[in-house]
């Protein structure tokens, strides 16, 4: 017992140190791309590719952390949160492209519209439980993307249709750096919100709902209002990421604003890092996104797959990802953070115990 506590603390400290170093590097490296630094001959630590990957990672931190509020803390397995990402992207995109609003004026509407939409569909959806909720929310994700692409108004596609929506190119100085820091700010907000939720009366109510909804209700938790609020909060954060994405990417369509695979990726990230925790989803997002980029061959450190042609490579990467998903679910169901540091130690017996707990 004591030993576990000690090792627990040691792991926690190691985790904080590693996390601190990564955060410091991620926050400071972009500065080397500024003109002042370049002219002072500071080595360039962040090129275009760096910004692209790092901004994606921050974006997934927002989505995984947002999903955690409804999926991890409240226990409702939402499988369609990409709808909120897309709605955020299209809200900001439409305001900029059609109403000619400036980006920063349009951005706040992304989380607001996404949250309103979540509250609206959440009222019927959150009456469902278990599989029913999961698949119904998956349906929302699919259906919203389809509607956005196909809705016509006066004979014209309302949201740009199948050819997508082009935003005017902005004239933001140090573009890569700007959107990176903006996405990091969104990630910080989502982590701070989670931290607050877990300490608040609201958060206790959500956890009570997750553990036993009926018991929570008879103890006075307004379960409907709480669930809808959690869903809307998750949607707001995810929508914020979408809103930033739309101007960052300048072009949005059904494929990049409503990618079905994001639904599962954000869940897998939360699961990898540990659901229901403050930093877990963020850690999982960094790990999984780096892995996806690595397998896809976009990272500077690359590798050759034996017997695999260049064209087959993305396919093999997907297979590896699928096998990884299967492996994580079977062997480390409580997340890698728990696997490495939590209540137990990194060991074969941990894997065996995980198996015993869930298998026949």
């Amino acid at each position: 017992m004591i030993a576990t506590l000690d090792s627990n603390r040691r792991w926690r400290r190691a985790f904080l140190i590693v996390g601190g170093i990564i955060a410091a590097y991620a926050l400071l490296a972009p500065l080397t791309s500024l003109d002042a630094a370049v002219s002072a001959n500071v080595p360039l630590l962040a090129d275009r590719l760096w910004f692209r990957i790092a901004t994606y990672i921050a974006m997934f931190i927002v989505m995984a952390t947002g999903w955690n509020i409804i999926g991890g803390i409240t226990g409702y397995a939402a499988f369609g949160n990409v709808a909120f990402f897309g709605i955020g992207a299209y809200t900001t995109g439409m305001l900029i492209a059609k109403a000619k609003w400036p980006f920063l004026a349009a951005l706040p509407f992304a989380p607001v519209v996404a949250a309103l939409f979540a509250a609206l569909v959440g009222l019927p959806l959150l009456r469902l439980r278990g599989h029913y909720f999961a698949v119904a929310s998956l349906g929302v994700g699919v259906a919203v993307g389809e509607l956005v692409q196909n809705i016509d108004y006066g004979g014209q596609p309302l949201f740009g249709g199948a050819s997508g929506l082009f935003l005017p190119i902005d004239s933001i100085a140090n573009r890569g750096l700007f959107f990176f820091y903006l996405m990091v700010a969104a990630a910080a907000i989502s982590i701070a919100v989670t931290w607050w939720v877990l300490r608040s009366r609201f958060g206790y109510g959500l956890i009570a709902i997750r553990e036993n909804e009926e018991a929570a209700a008879v103890l006075g938790v307004n379960t409907t209002a709480y669930k809808v609020a959690a869903f809307a909060l998750a949607a707001a954060l995810t929508g914020l990421a979408g809103g930033i994405f739309s101007q960052w990417n300048v072009f949005i369509n059904q494929d990049n604003a409503f990618p079905i695979e994001y639904n599962v990726q954000m869940i897998l990230m939360a699961l990898l890092g540990g659901t229901g925790t403050v930093f877990g989803p963020a850690a999982g997002a960094i790990l999984l996104q780096l892995l996806i980029q690595f397998l896809g061959g976009t990272l500077p450190i690359s590798f050759d797959l034996p017997f695999v042609s260049e064209t087959a490579r993305p396919i093999v990467a997907q297979i590896i990802l699928g096998l990884l998903l299967v492996g994580v679910v079977i062997f480390v169901p409580r997340g890698v953070i728990d696997f490495f540091g939590g209540r137990s130690r990194l060991s074969l017996s941990y894997l065996r115990r995980s198996l015993r707990e869930t298998s026949l």
Binding site: G71, I330, T358, L360
Partner: protein, 289 residues
Amino acid sequence: MANFVQLVILGLLAGGVYVAVGVGFGLVWGVLNIVNLAHGGLVIVGGYITWQLFTALHLDPFLTLPVNAVALFVLGYALQRGVINRIIRAPLLFTFLLTFGLNLVIINILLLIFGSDFRSVTPTYSGQGLEFGSVVIPYVSLTSLGAALLLAAALAFILNRTRIGLAINAIAADRDAAQLVGIDLRHAYAVTFGLGAACAGVAGGLIAMIQAITPTAGEPYTLQAFVVVILGGLGRVSATVVGGLAFGLVEAFGQSIPGSGSVFANAIAFGLMVLVLVTRPQGLMGRLR
């Protein structure tokens, strides 16, 4: 009027495929409590087997269906025994992610083998049909509907008349009690998933005859299978048959609405699902349990 009759007939014929897709999905869901996101992947594996046998050996596509069933049964049995049984007691999120991962693996292996080209199965009689005045009934659809109903009947027979079927029913009713009377859970679960996969394989064969397939063409069928099962009510093969035919009708009439076309297929399916879930959670045919 003829138009209405045509729509009803088309809907029921299309419903055959949904019956085939739904029964296996419903069986796995009802007994194993798993919403199998790899169902669409298994369906399309069946589609490729039919395509391969048809193009390489010139077999009649309907004759390939038993091959699909056997092959997919073996695959399903192995998947359940080797992988899914290991997390059968985990929360639903895990079974979701696991089956999603399996789907990803299946689809991408198919992509490696067959590429992403469209493949279609066109026997000599495709495009022909029975004509009653202005109403046309394509042979392929008619035979597909027959095959789907036969499949459902065979599944119902296995579940209600055979030893293993009764064991599966016992497990669905009460897992612990079933174990106490000596049922080998691992085997029975694997057989259940195998049967579900076999149904998916047959459905895939039927689908390959009515549309060109790619490795990802099975995706929409997972969501649709879910809607079909909900529509009919979880727990009985006959209810899924009704759900599948009803879904075919809804789709036929939905697509006939001018302007909407087929682009809103998912939105219609989803809207219908939420409507049924919220107003009649036990399904059209189900009893409240």
